[in-house]
């Protein structure tokens, strides 16, 4: 059973502790050293943070009056600092806190120091160089999302992708993104995604947090695994102000997980517009090509036509010359012929006249003779004419005995028989 005298109320107890701590010369106006963590610059002007090392931490408060002189130079997360101040107790919470009076920066925190050293080393090796950045497909078919399976990050990523480009397949790869297992898990999952080979882009994401929280993304093995990944990696770790080593090595660094999702997929409507634009541009291009070709054809046609026309013209000139020559020659010939003809005509006329005169003369002679031979006058005088076969018989020797002959008298005819 407790001794009644040793039982205190909470307030009394706390008041005693407060009194003891705040009056202990060792705990007053002393210097402590550690890394800054979870710093909050409260609206009131008071600044709260923890000072920590690997094994312990102290809650610190810096009242506005003190904080004012450090406003432009507040300690940063992970920064190693030295604080002068007093230990005080805050009875409502029963907690003690370090009331900061002065800050001295002693250099960067260990983690931050390691971060800077690794960054420097990998940069010198060329892991961050743009030449090594793999192009990220504009329209991925499959996206591997490497992040914690719970929490808002995965929800934001999925909703962003769904909203922008629902046609893509998503491979969720649950991965620890905090604590000691984070780095090895990230490395192993990156390797698995690569050997699986289906994804054409990898999102490596984590929400915001302290330098310690994000530390997995600052490990060298993670940096090297990202660098070794055949599949392009988009990183989206923490908030905009956090840049991890993973961000530097990644093919694209997004400021946040949501931004990473936005970078991974296009907006479907944009693609449709792009395709439409492209179609129009191609059509215009083709139209222009057609126009040029038509112009060329027009040109050819005109040239050919001109060429042939010139040739035809030349031929026509030649033809005209020939024609002219021929005409000249023909005219000459005709003239010659005509002249010849004229002469012939005169000759013929003369000849004909002469012939006609001859004939006329002969005719006259014949007429006279004919008149002299007029049969009727002879017959009238008492002569007769003997016809043998219709022809006059002048020689008795022509006739043979017993032959029938016809004798013509002035009046009438008689058939006679020849006697000796």
């Amino acid at each position: 059973m407790e001794d009644q005298k040793s039982v205190y109320g909470v307030r009394e107890f706390t008041a005693y502790v407060k009194h003891r701590l705040e009056n202990d010369p060792v705990l007053q106006n002393i210097w402590i050293e550690g890394e800054v963590s979870n710093l909050t610059n409260h609206r009131s002007g008071h600044v709260y943070f923890s000072l920590k090392d690997q094994d312990a931490q102290v809650n610190c408060v810096m009242w506005r009056s003190v904080a004012q002189s450090y406003l432009r130079n507040l300690p940063k997360h992970g920064e190693k600092i030295r604080l002068r101040g007093n230990v005080t107790v805050y009875p409502p919470r029963g907690s003690y806190q370090f009331n900061v009076l002065e800050i001295k920066k002693t250099g960067l925190g260990d983690l931050h120091q390691r971060y800077l050293e690794l960054k420097d080393k990998l940069q010198k090796e060329g892991l961050f160089e743009i030449a090594h950045k793999k192009p990220v497909p504009k329209i991925p078919k499959t996206i591997a999302v490497l992040t914690s399976p719970t929490g808002s990050v995965i929800r934001d990523i999925l909703s962003t992708i769904e909203r922008r480009f629902p046609h893509v397949k998503i491979l969720l790869v649950p991965t620890a993104v905090q604590g000691a297992t984070a780095a090895p898990q990230i490395v192993r999952n990156l390797e698995r995604i690569n050997s699986h080979g289906e994804a054409d882009v990898i999102l490596l994401c984590r929400g915001g947090g302290s330098l310690e929280d994000l530390w997995g993304f600052n490990e060298e093995i993670v940096a090297r695994a990202i660098f070794a990944s055949e599949i392009p990696v988009i990183s989206g770790v923490g908030h905009e102000t956090d840049t991890t080593i993973a961000d530097f090595v990644a093919d694209i660094r997004a400021p946040t997980p949501t931004a990473a999702a936005e970078l991974a997929v296009p907006i479907a409507a944009d693609i449709r517009n792009y395709l439409k634009d492209t179609k129009l541009r191609m059509a215009n291009q083709l139209q222009q090509f057609i126009n040029y070709r038509i112009q060329l054809l027009d040109n050819y046609q005109v040239q050919m036509k001109n060429n042939l026309e010139r040739q035809i013209e030349r031929k026509q000139v030649r033809l005209a010359e020939y024609t002219h020559l021929l005409e000249g020659l023909m005219q000459q010939k005709i003239d010659q012929l005509r002249k010849g003809l004229g002469e012939s005509k005169i000759y013929m006329e003369n000849t004909m006249e002469k012939l006609l005169a001859d004939r006329r003369h002969n005719l006259e002679l014949l007429e006279i003779q004919f008149k002299g031979l007029d049969m009727r006058r002879v017959l009238h005088r008492g002569y007769s004419v003997t016809l043998r076969n219709g022809r006059m018989v002048r020689d008795a020797e022509e006739l043979t005995t017993g032959e029938q002959v016809e004798t013509v008298f002035e009046k009438g005819r008689r058939w006679m028989e020849v006697k000796d």
Partner: protein, 72 residues
């Protein structure tokens, strides 16, 4: 459009016909023959291009149609 029609090879052919004509070493009959061939080829090319142009028009009109759908 004619299968296997090669606009460029036909254009080359026309160009070579033209060059032959321009060289002026052919007799007239040959020239007329080349001219006829050239005119024929030019007509073929024109027809081909007309058809291509029509295709482009159809494409573009098809596209603007889609646009209207999108805004409906």
């Amino acid at each position: 459009m004619e299968e296997g029609f090669s606009l460029e090879s036909k254009l080359r052919k026309i160009r070579s016909l033209l060059e032959q004509m321009q060289a002026g070493e052919l007799d007239f009959d040959e020239n007329v023959k080349l001219f006829t061939m050239g005119t024929d080829l030019i007509e073929q090319c024109r027809q081909y291009l007309d058809e291509a142009e029509l295709k482009v028009k159809t494409l573009v009109e098809g596209t603007s149609g889609e646009e209207e759908e999108t805004f409906e």
